[in-house]
Subunit: 240 residues, 4 copies
């Protein structure tokens, strides 16, 4: 008997158990999204949870040649035998500047403060309200709009989506980016705050794998590195 406990799963010689279920029984019955929900939360999803987990994973996965995909492609070009190394290099860029803000949004929504006040306080402290603004989608993030539209249509918009919209009004005209509705919808569907960041990371892994499969067929990594290098000038210290 061990000193620690996990409730996720275990492999035995003749079976694999996951969250108290026989894995062989789940194979062919659950979609990957349903299985991910079971892994992450211990429960099979409701229809709405499954639908929106798919929605969010699809919404956040691919966004063109983002820095994470560029870094991953360069890494594969330098080490073509290690697909996992290139994926890891890409995932390391899933930080708070763009991708990681979904968790910060969840924290903001969970504290439940009055948006006008909170936005004023963050601004006074020189901070940035998470979940608003985007370097490409300057007027409107089409992914955010689509998620909110579906949440309304399916009747899952609750207190957190409403609060996200009040933050939008308080921050206007800066547009709401995709991270805010990810957080709001997940909280309205009962996901714990600590699960929110898992969604963008799994989604971006799918994008990385697609870019790296393309990289193996049509290498761009060294071209990307050269273009980046050319954008920077080396300027030595002046003789003194």
């Amino acid at each position: 008997m061990g000193a620690g406990v996990t409730r996720i799963g275990r492999a035995y010689p003749d079976r694999v158990e996951v969250r108290g279920r026989d894995l062989a029984e789940l194979i062919g019955r659950l979609s990957f999204t349903e299985f991910f929900h079971l892994l992450l939360t211990g429960e099979e999803p409701t229809d709405d949870q499954r639908f929106f987990l798919d929605v969010l994973l699809v919404a956040i996965a691919e966004h063109g040649l983002m820095p994470t995909n560029v870094a991953a492609r360069m890494t594969l070009a330098a080490d073509p035998g290690s697909l996992q190394g290139a994926v890891a290099a890409g995932i390391l860029g899933a930080g708070p500047v763009v991708l990681g803000t979904a968790e910060e949004c969840a924290r903001l929504l969970a504290t439940g403060g009055d948006p006008e006040t909170v936005v004023r306080e963050i601004g006074a402290a020189g901070g940035k309200v998470p979940g608003f603004g985007h370097p490409v989608h300057k007027l409107l993030d089409p992914r955010a709009e689509r998620i909110l539209e579906l949440a309304d249509e399916r009747g899952v918009s609750g207190a957190h989506v409403a609060l996200a919209r009040r933050f939008r009004d308080a921050v206007a005209p800066l547009p709401m980016n995709v991270s805010m509705p990810i957080a709001a919808v997940m909280l309205d569907l009962g996901f714990p705050e600590s699960a929110v960041k898992a969604v963008p990371i799994l989604a971006r892994t799918a994008s990385l794998l697609a870019h790296l499969a393309e990289e193996r067929e049509q290498p761009l990594g060294l071209l990307l590195a050269r273009a980046a290098e050319k954008a920077v000038e080396y300027r030595p210290p002046e003789p003194t």
Copy 2:
């Protein structure tokens, strides 16, 4: 205009295009598995492709406290603020010893040699036939059996599944592990060889995210590290 070409996707101010489609139109219509297929191959999947992509992702995702999950949990314990760092550390263990063999299996099946001969040659060279044997599933890998059963039931078993079974006979009594049917079914469904390894990596990312969500609630990382350390004795060089 650029010097290189990608066919995967691009973000414009008011829309995101993925494989020639408007992302907003895909959100809510495609499951994550279907979207992953589109990302990876450029095409939406057939029913069988979608079904078996789900089957394989579910089959390979979770297997208890594997070394990758242990390494990831230790990493999160040491750097609790970086979920992406801990995921990356875990993915780096997705190497050829266990997980990475799906791609080697695909290469073996794609060459199409006679199993008896190939197995004899690999053995004579001191090698190991990929896709057979498992440290826990010593007699039979229940995931492999389940995948083959479903492939037969749904009528997708083709030349590659047949060849995999001939390898099993040639290698007997060593059991076929899960990597071989992943490769065989994917090739029979028309996936390119270079896409095969993407499946276990995406699947294991889901498992890593579940273990790391549990780690944040119920930390085990330092306990795991201590138990590992205790299994090893430091023996200094003898005085000479």
Copy 3:
């Protein structure tokens, strides 16, 4: 001409320039430690800077089978072909829990508040003063003592070392760990705050490379993983 500027170095067809110097002229003249100083700061070190950079790198490099070394060895066992992948997995554990605190210590010392007051405030907020306490060195960290001793002997102890000692008195009886004198000595020698964390990361990379060289000769990775796994019990949810 580029839109950005780097002052570190550049490769030309017939020469490599580093910080305004010809690399060929530095090879054989500078030690690696001196070169690291030049790379990091743009200047060759003074004798004291060189001496203490060596002191700190040696002090922090190796500490037995730390979690970072365990994670790296497991990763190499799973992917034996990728030394860089295993090193990366190890470095990802260089987080704030133990290793990363040198930078937090530097920030604490640079703010220059009164130790008694600062310690009381941190305690009141439920925080932990960085640079004090260690899971193994419960009474005294021999590395910290040795660094302070050398700093006094060589006459480099200045305002930051003095402040570190005042923090020690305020925190007593918790012992000062190695991170605090790393920060204090570096600041007294004129290193910028942002350089402080580079030292433990470079040092630990040396340790990782030694453990991974040993791992290639005498594999422990799978044994470590098994011992860790055995310390944890899988407990499925109770039937409801």
Copy 4:
């Protein structure tokens, strides 16, 4: 007592032991290079081993905005709080395409075949002789020349350096790059083949840390990512 053995080091409450020595006694006596030698091999270096370990580490560390530095800077821009994540992303690019060839060179030199024959066989198999050719140093790699010059001057050039030169003649006019003399000199100085790759990885970590310290002061990461992205055109599939 443990089931496995390490000979590198261990932390006790009041002391840290490394390779049978008290770490406190090594701090202040050994340079980081000497300590790295002790860690890696179990022995303190001879004068020549120390001198050339410094030579090789200095020679290979910095080479301008290489892909590894570009990927690391992008990663820090996306996740500014994780220096270790950015270093890890950079190290993942230390693959066989450029950096990793030192180990392949060592293997080539250790087998000791006749260069003319070996080069002909590699060419016939469509391969590339490791240690020759460089995208920037098209005529001559100044680092390789400088290392060989120093090895001759200090009288350490032995059988492996001689063999490396015979390979150069057999491959001419392709120039010898820096990886070949790293391998040749290390083997002539008695380093084991498995230690060879540790040198470029430690050296490049120093470069990564310098670029990342600059990145924190003068961010280039997003500019590098944008320049890379602009070099690539998105071309959707044609309507069918």
